[in-house]
């Protein structure tokens, strides 16, 4: 092999190496955009379907959000330092209850604010290797513009999961975390007491929504 040919091979190999070492995500901004548009359209369909009963609507929201939420990491974030001292049974019970409560919160808030207009996606930024921040806006029923920021994560099975939603810069999981931690502090870190309070709250929500 001549020196010139060898140099060409090395040069081309270097180029290929550089291109492959770009922060190549398995998911792209375009896929994040598609995920959000699909999710938003599903929400609009539920909000605007007048034929649905309350129970049917809640069921649809549950199916939609439970598959979209990163509930394990949300649970760990909200329970914070108490996660490590909880038993596996307590952790599982907490996750189950939190999932149901969170879905009801989100469903109620979207039902309050969404109209027949879909989400307007303003920007998508890649925060980390597998995390995205989606900036969006909706116009609610009072004609007010509401800013929504979605924190998305790529899951192990290559799908998108929602970690947080910020409504006009108010983070839902930070609010929940401080809420739940206040209960833990008031009950000397007793996780069973928190779980009992969550069960009561869930029953109240199910009765009223």
């Amino acid at each position: 092999m001549t020196n010139f040919a060898f140099s060409r091979i090395v040069f081309i190999s270097l180029i290929a190496l550089l291109m492959s070492s770009e922060p190549g995500n398995s998911k792209s901004d375009i896929e994040a955009n598609e995920f959000m548009n699909t999710l938003s359209q599903h929400i609009v369909n539920i909000v605007t379907d007048d034929k649905l009963s309350k129970a049917e609507r809640n069921e649809k929201y549950y199916k939609l959000f439970v598959s979209s939420l990163d509930i394990l990491n949300i649970s760990k974030f909200i329970l914070s330092r108490y996660w490590d001292i909880a038993t596996p049974e307590q952790q599982q019970e907490f996750i189950n209850l939190l999932e149901k409560i969170t879905v009801m919160i989100w469903a109620n808030r979207f039902q309050m604010n969404y109209t027949n207009e879909s989400l307007e996606i303003l920007s998508i930024s890649n925060e980390d290797d597998r995390e995205w921040l989606v900036d969006s806006q909706i116009t609610n029923k009072n004609n007010d513009k509401i800013n929504l920021q979605w924190k998305l994560r790529e899951s192990d099975d290559n799908s998108f999961l929602i970690f947080d939603v910020l409504i006009n810069s108010i983070s839902m999981i930070i609010t929940q975390r401080l809420d739940y931690n206040a209960i833990m502090r008031a009950n000397n870190g007793n996780i069973d007491k928190l779980i009992e309070i969550m069960r009561t709250k869930l029953s109240q929500l199910q009765a009223s929504h």
Binding site: I170, N181, A182
Partner: protein, 279 residues
């Protein structure tokens, strides 16, 4: 601090009592803000900043009782009696009266772009919009924004100080409370009331403003109440996040010189998550 002291001396010589009070309050505020930072260290992993929690909770429960028996029924009745169009007129009128305050704070923050927009809105809405009843400016896409002296102080670097629950008014902090007090002194409507001795205007304005604002937020308040395990903590968190986000957003806009959406204040989130404190 040095500028405040110099201004204070100047005011003593000129015997300008109002400004002496304002500057004295500013010095106290700066001192208290630094004290609250020390207390905040105890809550650093939760960013609660509520050393007066026990007193705040008493005021909160009194406010809650007044909400249940007075304000909520009044706001609900107002909503049922006055149609949406009428409520919008009231909201626009009240907001227009506050525009001089928004303008003053835009200028104090060095945000001359927003100040120009505020001035345009005020002139348009007061004239063509019939004393602000109709938000003509919004119709021709001159966007509205609010501002307050508490936000101005935040942009100037004054720390929020401890979380406070004010009687009737609800969530605040030391900085924002001071901002409210200063604004009441510089509000031109209040000067008009004092000069003309039309004192009935003051409680009327406060009452109508309160009911209008409460009615506008009633669904959100009910939602937060029903969804929270600890309503007090949820409201505190929401207030603190909201104010921090407003101030950081304004600071970011100043740096980039580019009006933008309110961006997330990710400092709390990142601190909690990246340091593993979520675990």
């Amino acid at each position: 601090m040095l500028i405040s002291c110099m201004l204070l001396l100047d005011c003593f010589y000129k015997k300008n009592l109002l400004f002496i009070k304002i500057i004295t309050f500013t010095l106290i505020l700066v001192g208290c803000s630094s004290l609250s930072t020390e207390n905040k260290d105890n809550y650093i992993d939760e960013q609660i900043n509520d050393p007066l929690e026990s007193i705040n909770k008493i005021t909160f429960s009194i406010n809650e009782s007044m909400d249940t028996y007075v304000f909520h029924p009044l706001a609900t009745g107002y909503r049922q009696i006055v149609p949406s169009f009428g409520r919008n007129l009231v909201r626009n009128f009240i907001d227009n009266l506050k525009t001089p305050s928004y303008f003053a704070n835009d200028m104090l923050q060095g945000n001359f772009h927003d100040a120009a927009i505020t001035l345009k809105r005020f002139l348009l809405n007061t004239t063509v919009g019939i004393l602000g009843l109709i938000d003509i400016a919004e119709l021709i896409e001159i966007p509205a924004h609010k501002n307050d002296f508490g936000k101005t102080l935040g942009i100037w670097g004054i720390d929020e100080g401890p979380y406070l629950i004010l009687p009737i008014l609800g969530s605040s902090n030391l900085r924002d409370t001071f901002g409210l007090i200063v604004e009441s002194f510089i509000d031109p409507i209040n000067y008009y009331i004092k000069n003309k001795k039309h004192y009935w205007i003051y409680p009327t304005r406060v009452g109508i403003t309160g009911i209008s604002l409460y009615e506008n937020q009633i669904d959100n308040i009910d939602d937060i109440k029903s969804m929270s395990l600890d309503y007090y903590s949820s409201m505190r968190s929401i207030y603190q996040q909201h104010r921090t986000s407003l101030i950081n957003s304004a600071k970011n806009d100043k740096k980039s010189n580019n009006p933008s959406l309110n961006k997330t204040d990710s400092s709390l989130f990142n601190m909690l998550f990246n340091t593993g404190i979520y675990r």
